[in-house]
Symmetry: C2
């Protein structure tokens, strides 16, 4: 599965959130990182459209500005989403949103400081996904990044990577397989800090367990047929 | 009451809807027409902020692009709505939206071609109004302008002028007073095509009736007190 991340931040190098997310995808070969701002001066529309056509999952990633996306993303939509694209070329692809805010997520509710939920504020994006016949994914939100603990940031990194690349089944099996694949990919590149081969040991156990579970499933299926 | 219309259309001279609406405000002295696009090349932020501060009702008028406003309006918000403005200077003012679409209004509903209502798609604007402590008015929508009959266009013109300048009470009295004031203003400027003084006759009857009703109201009030 190929993922395109259209990151729209006017000055992402100054954003702790965006630089963290950029590092999270550095070694993910199936993820294409598209820094929208750097393309806007001379927007190559056919290139942007080609990237969308090649992707299975397209993520729009931005800081929330006035309960919506930065104006640059709207300008990009106006130029890139031509009828030839939205009428047929994106059908069935997945449409995700990674939105960051400087306000606690608890405020985004009736009676809270921001009055409405992310689901409500992001309705225009859901409309775009539907118009393009795409599958709208639950938005992924990051609030108050700078206040997260190191452990919370590590969890965020995994959750973010999964939002970009995990198959949508949402099953335990899919999540387990995702972990196995990530560990394998990192070990191939010698990216894994694992001097005592502990992680590799866990990986082996995971794979053996998975094989056992699959065998058991097959046995059950055969017994049901008999 | 002063009204500011912030009209955001990338090329409004080519829009039948916008040229029609522009003509509708030509003789309305309390309405300031701000053509956003013409200001964007060198945006004068203090001027835009001053216009907002002086207005009692601020209308954002635009064609719906991707279930939202054109990117130019978002760019304007990013520059003009500084904390010094949205924290205190707009409190209590009215926030209106005039949105035009090329799709029938009937499609904006669950099960319709556009899936969601204007109220849902425009939620981010409602969020802005709340953040600025402004009073959010029901959006005014114009669909399929080019298919309207002449009579429908005349009705649209009056409804639009009232959306811009009618006091919010929504009472018959307020609407009647609005008609009296408009007729007077147009007759002062010799704008009224009324060779037989028929309209002026109606105006006189309206005013006399209004005086009679006010007298009756006073009498009833006095009798209640006795």
């Amino acid at each position: 599965m190929k993922t395109l991340v259209v990151m729209a931040h006017p000055d992402w190098h100054q954003s702790n959130t965006q630089t963290f997310l950029k590092e999270a995808v550095l070694n993910m070969e199936t993820v294409y990182w598209y820094d929208l701002q750097s393309h806007m001066e001379q927007l190559n529309v056919p290139l942007a459209q080609q990237l969308m056509k090649e992707a299975d999952r397209i993520i729009f990633q931005f800081p929330m500005y006035w309960y919506s996306a930065p104006s640059s993303l709207y300008s990009w939509f106006e130029q890139v989403l031509t009828p030839g694209i939205y009428n047929s070329k994106l059908k069935g692809k997945e449409f995700g949103i990674v939105v960051s805010t400087g306000v606690s997520e608890k405020q985004y509710t009736a009676g809270g400081g921001e009055h409405f939920t992310f689901s409500e504020f992001l309705k225009p994006f859901q409309g775009i996904a539907l118009k393009c016949q795409m599958v709208y994914l639950s938005p992924f939100s990051i609030s108050l990044f700078d206040y997260l603990s190191d452990l919370e940031k590590k969890q965020l990194l995994i959750n973010y990577q999964q939002y970009l690349t995990l198959n949508r089944q949402g099953s335990f099996k899919a999540e387990e397989q995702w972990v196995i694949n990530r560990l394998k990919a990192l070990s191939k590149k010698d990216m894994l800090k694992d001097p005592d081969h502990q992680l590799m040991g866990i990986l082996q156990i995971l794979e053996e367990n998975r094989d056992d579970i699959d065998d058991l499933s097959d046995t059950i299926a055969q017994m049901s047929e008999e």
